[in-house]
Amino acid sequence: MDSARTVLDDADISRAIRRIVHEIVETAKGTESLVLLGIPTRGAYLARRIADAITGIDGVEVPCGTLDITLYRDDLRLRAVRPLEPTSIPPDGIDGRIVVLVDDVLYSGRTVRAALDALNDIGRPAAVRLAVLVDRGHRELPIRPDYVGKNLPTAVKENVAVKLREVDDLDAVELSEVGA
């Protein structure tokens, strides 16, 4: 879209991830009980980056997996059927762990609600935290993030697109008008 405006570039994104990593390690008071679960597609790459960054700081391999929430969505019947994304829970599971859910954009909160339901069927974590690269507001459920890369005030008619090298050839967060 022509009117897309870059609100975070790759340096901003690296900084944001670094900050999230430090906050995670700080609030968890260490890394041994952490499990990172990224919500596909881009949340999964962010979780991987966060895990790698923790390894860079601590030298510790934090268990990192993916959690597809498609089967738990509340809007399945509003759209054409969606293909499932991979779910891979680290071999030691999530029981008694501090699970950090990682997603790219926090908006209505419905994805996170679905993710909490999904977690409930998989095990019983000691705590669940939420890390997002961008919080664009407009929550429809009582959900708030624990770690935010960037608070980005938006209008409902705007679209926030997170691009990551792993799939998009560059790192950027872009804001555009819907239908522009």
């Binding site: 399945l76 019947r77 054409a80 779910t87 069927d121 998989i122």
Partner: protein
């Protein structure tokens, strides 16, 4: 997809999507809570005009794991056995708010008719119609073959599969020929000429009247049940002769490539098309086929019922 009536209607990408979806859903089967909320509030009717406990239970388990409500409507002891027509039964199910009907019927094309005659809005899943098709059986066979022989996923390109037995009357064979070739496999049908339909030359597969020459080149071999009434109808002279010529025994098993697997849609006639030691060998994957059947049927139910009912893309 709105209905699943025939493996012949599924293209490669759809087939791979179903198998991939089944693989993801299969992971759920390994957890302690095997239930997903995905189809909560939706109603799946198992409408079985023929007895097939294993297929019905498989669909029932699949629907229940996705939290759908399941109604079982079997011919015995129901209005169907009192002569109610398929149409009137369909109208009844429509009135009950069925979202999907899983139909097993003795008449070829019954599922197609139920889907397209305008009697009902529900999605129709063909769970076996006469001697036509049994697409979910073919999907679970393809899934099982992929797991063993193409574990990296994708299609079955380059694999060679033999289907042995009563091709003429087999809906499993028809569905498998379509699906396996769509997925890139080479299929060879093996049967006496009396059990191969006139017109088979239009099918995308090879035909062999002899089993022995194909053994050393197959990656998977699927043995079909031979019903004893075929013998009475003079399709072959005797059970003994059939089993000698077309039965899979230990000697023949030893001639298969080492990686080759043995499939059977069940129920087996031990001693007829398959010997007991082959059925119980480590190469036989029948138990896995049953487990995979649930995953594949979950995938089909998910893909038919979870969206808005309009075709994607």
């Amino acid at each position: 997809m709105r209905h699943l009536l025939s493996a012949g209607e599924i293209d490669r990408d759809q087939a791979v999507l179903i198998l991939d979806t089944a693989a993801e859903l299969g992971a759920v089967t390994d957890r302690s809570i095997k239930k997903l909320p995905t189809l909560r509030g939706r109603t799946v009717v198992n409408l079985f005009y023929e007895d097939s406990t294993r297929t019905r239970i498989s669909f029932e388990a699949a629907a229940k794991r996705l939290s759908a409500d399941v109604l079982n409507f079997s011919a015995k002891g129901s209005s169907v056995s009192k002569g109610e027509s398929l149409k009137d039964t369909a109208l009844t199910l429509q009135a009950m708010g069925a979202d999907a009907v899983v139909l097993r019927h003795g008449s070829s094309g019954a599922a197609h008719r139920l889907a397209h005659a305008g009697w009902i809005d529900a999605s129709v899943i063909n769970a076996g119609d006469g001697t036509h098709e049994h697409p979910t059986q073919a999907l679970l066979d393809a899934f099982t073959i992929r797991r063993h022989l193409a574990p990296e996923g994708g299609d079955l390109a380059g694999l060679s599969v033999a289907i042995v037995g009563d091709i003429l009357h087999s809906r499993v064979a028809r569905s498998n020929v379509h699906l396996l070739t769509t997925l890139g496999a080479r299929v060879t049908l093996v049967a006496p000429p009396t059990l191969i339909p006139v017109g088979v030359e239009s099918w995308p597969c090879a035909v062999s009247y002899e089993l022995d020459p194909v053994l050393d080149s197959v990656d998977a071999i699927m043995m079909l049940r031979v019903q004893s009434e075929r013998m009475q109808a003079a399709y072959f002279p005797s059970a003994l002769e059939y089993s000698r010529l077309y039965g899979l025994d230990a000697a023949r098993l030893s001639r298969l490539p080492e990686h080759a697997i043995v499939l059977h849609p069940g129920p087996m006639n031990r001693g007829m098309e398959i010997s007991a030691d082959v059925a119980d060998s480590s190469r036989a994957v029948m138990v896995e086929q049953v487990a995979n059947g649930v995953n594949v049927r979950m995938a089909v139910l998910y893909l038919l019922l979870a969206g808005d009912g309009k075709d994607a893309g």
